[in-house]
């Protein structure tokens, strides 16, 4: 009996030993910085001097403000820009990814090749080089406008530096990187039993009917998963806006994403406390929206438990 406990302890010890690298990483590189940033969010902190406790002032400036600490209008604007980006680009991207995934799910000869080709934008997409390319494509005298002027005799606006259109070019860039949800959709499509389609064909269902009555319901957990993941990552978009806007959300803050403004506040204006507060507000917003999505999905997502 005694020997057994000792052995159990020793076994546990060794498993803890194996866990140490991960635990160490978690405590030192995740938990501690998070707790510290929570503390900083209640302070005024410029990196080089010790933080000064200011209580709820950072949050007050974001949402209310008064004569002494006026409301930060650029904060609200950055939130609205980001929300618009998320709610337009994510659905478009998912529809596009699903469409391509359905096409890629056929049994054609070169299909692995096509799949690779369609995935390439995603591999390149987050990079600075693509953002620079995008700038050249949509600039006032960029590639697109040269074509529009030359072939169609139009007088197009400077897409990237016009506040009406700048955000849409970023959405287009996001939609173009449909590769990772596409791959996940493709895996989901392969899981749908062929018998469903065979049986429905016998009953006389056409392609469209099959798509809406079989493919979509069977795929609903995957759609839901992709929706949540894409939403979270869209909220955190940074690189493209940083490069395309020249690092300042220009023109007119129309591409001032939340995380870009957070970065400018923290590193540009030296308000790390405020930036930390913004990070926590973003966490709460993403958390709340994800929870809402989960709740709303209840009746729409079928896990095929076969009742």
């Amino acid at each position: 009996m005694k020997r057994k406990t000792r052995k159990a302890i020793r076994e546990n010890l060794s498993s803890y030993a194996f866990l140490i690298p991960w635990l160490l990483g978690f405590f030192v590189l995740t938990l501690y910085p998070m707790a510290y940033s929570l503390y900083l969010s209640f302070t005024q902190y410029n990196i080089l001097q010790p933080p000064k406790w200011t209580g709820l002032r950072n949050f007050f400036v974001m949402f209310a403000g008064d004569a002494q600490y006026p409301k930060d209008d650029r904060f609200l604007n950055s939130l609205l820009v980001t929300l618009r980006f998320v709610f337009i680009s994510v659905p478009l991207k998912l529809v596009f990814a699903l469409g391509v995934a359905v096409l890629m799910n056929r049994k054609l000869r070169l299909i692995p090749f096509y799949r690779a080709i369609y995935y390439i934008p995603t591999l390149l997409g987050g990079s600075v080089a693509i953002a620079v390319l995008w700038r050249r494509l949509f600039a006032g005298d960029g590639v697109l406008n040269t074509i529009l002027r030359g072939l169609f005799k139009l007088d197009p606006p400077a897409w990237i530096s016009n506040p009406k259109y700048a955000l849409y070019t970023l959405m287009l860039l996001a939609v173009w990187q449909f590769g990772s949800p596409m791959i996940i959709f493709l895996a989901g499509l392969k899981q749908i039993p062929q018998e469903y389609y065979d049986a429905s064909s016998v009953d006389g269902a056409g392609r469209t009917r099959q798509f809406f009555s079989i493919t979509l319901p069977c795929l609903s957990p995957i759609i839901f998963f992709n929706l949540v993941m894409q939403m979270i990552s869209a909220f955190q978009s940074f690189t493209q806006a940083f490069i395309i806007s020249g690092g300042n959300g220009s023109p007119l803050d129309s591409t001032m994403f939340y995380s870009l403004y957070l970065y400018i506040k923290g590193f540009g204006f030296g308000e790390m406390g405020y930036a930390s507060a913004m990070a926590w507000v973003l966490l709460i917003i993403i958390g709340a929206l994800t929870a809402l999505t989960f709740r709303a999905s209840g009746s729409l997502v079928s896990y095929g438990s076969g009742e």
Binding site: N46, I47, L48, Q49, P70, R74, A139, G140, P157, A158, I160, S161, N162, P163, G246, G247, N248, S250, P251, L252, D253, I264, F267, G268, F269, G270
Partner: protein, 416 residues
Amino acid sequence: MRKFGLVLLTLAMGASMLFGQGVTVRWAYWGGEARIKKSQAAIDLFRAANPSISVNPEISGGAGDHFTKVDTQLAGGAGPDIIQMGGNIGDYVKKGVLLPLDKYAGTILNTAVIDPAAIQGGTFDGKLYGISTGVTMPALVYNKSLIQRAGAPLPALSMTYAEFRAYLVALKAKLPTGVYPMQDIGASSSGTTPFGYWTGYNGTKLYVADPKSTQVKAADAQKYLELFKDYRDNKLIPPADIAAGFAETNADTSAIIAGKVAIGFLYTNQLGGYQAATKDELALMEFPGAVATKALWQNASQYYTVNKETKNPEATVKLVDFLVNSPEAAKVLGLDRGASASSTARTAALEGVDQKVLDYLKIAGAHTSKPTPNLPNDTEFNSSFFLLYQLVAFGNYTTAKGGQQIADLIVRMINK
């Protein structure tokens, strides 16, 4: 296991033999390709004279990235030894991260040959924190070749605002479609210098340090916005969306190098970099109205400052002295960081673009006053000013509303 330890030990010994000798000075600065090449040439000269000191440049493309990086390094206790500073040097003195250089003055740092005004500029509360890299001043730059190709007369070096507007109108008539007489220099993502000049021209100082205040009222800021609205309405500068396509942070992102405008704005030390980016010939002219108001100014282009935590203060200061005072260094560095404030460095022979800058400094230098100190929270002011300016340029705000908000912004930056 023992074998592994042995290998590690050998590696460590090898590394210490490789890197252990001499010291390394880390030099952080920002700049484009021209500056990187010039700086490396100066480093090579320094290394030849001081083989025991290695120099590691840490380069950022722009001032914004530079300070982001340096701030983070300083906070982590791993700051570079030499930190290139701009007009924000006062902020860093206040933060207490810079080393006072007084105790090296007269020994390894020859301050006697540096112009007293330049020493004064780097002195705060009686202590010397920064050594001026050289003098620079704001200027308008024009594309001489482009104007000649269009068959228009070249601008005069000095003009009044009325003459300047008439010139822009005349130039507009000659330029091909799609090319505008001047870039919208009223504000850019990189700074508010033209506004700073205009406040001096207008006789209303942007910032007075004692007591902390501004002389700029809403009506003044509105007048400034109306000046550029008039240019914009008459197509003397590009429409807002075209202008916004150029970040104007350096030659690569400027409208004048892209061939979209004939006149732009820069600091004289930037002319070399701009000229290197185009085959057209560039030339300098003054801001309008400078002769009568002496509203131009000269200031240190940048400062060399030393990190308080540096482990090798002597080697670091030695490099600073070399960069600032040595004629050999001055020859390879040119005027890229400003026209030298050191009498020994000025003995170096300069040519080409550098000579053009010296000529301009000589004439425009007579139309200057003492520079006003930077508005506190400079970075935030520039960013917010640019946004307000764009709101007016795109027609979202009236000039009256924009003027009011700019005046409020200035007060907020002072009281922050």
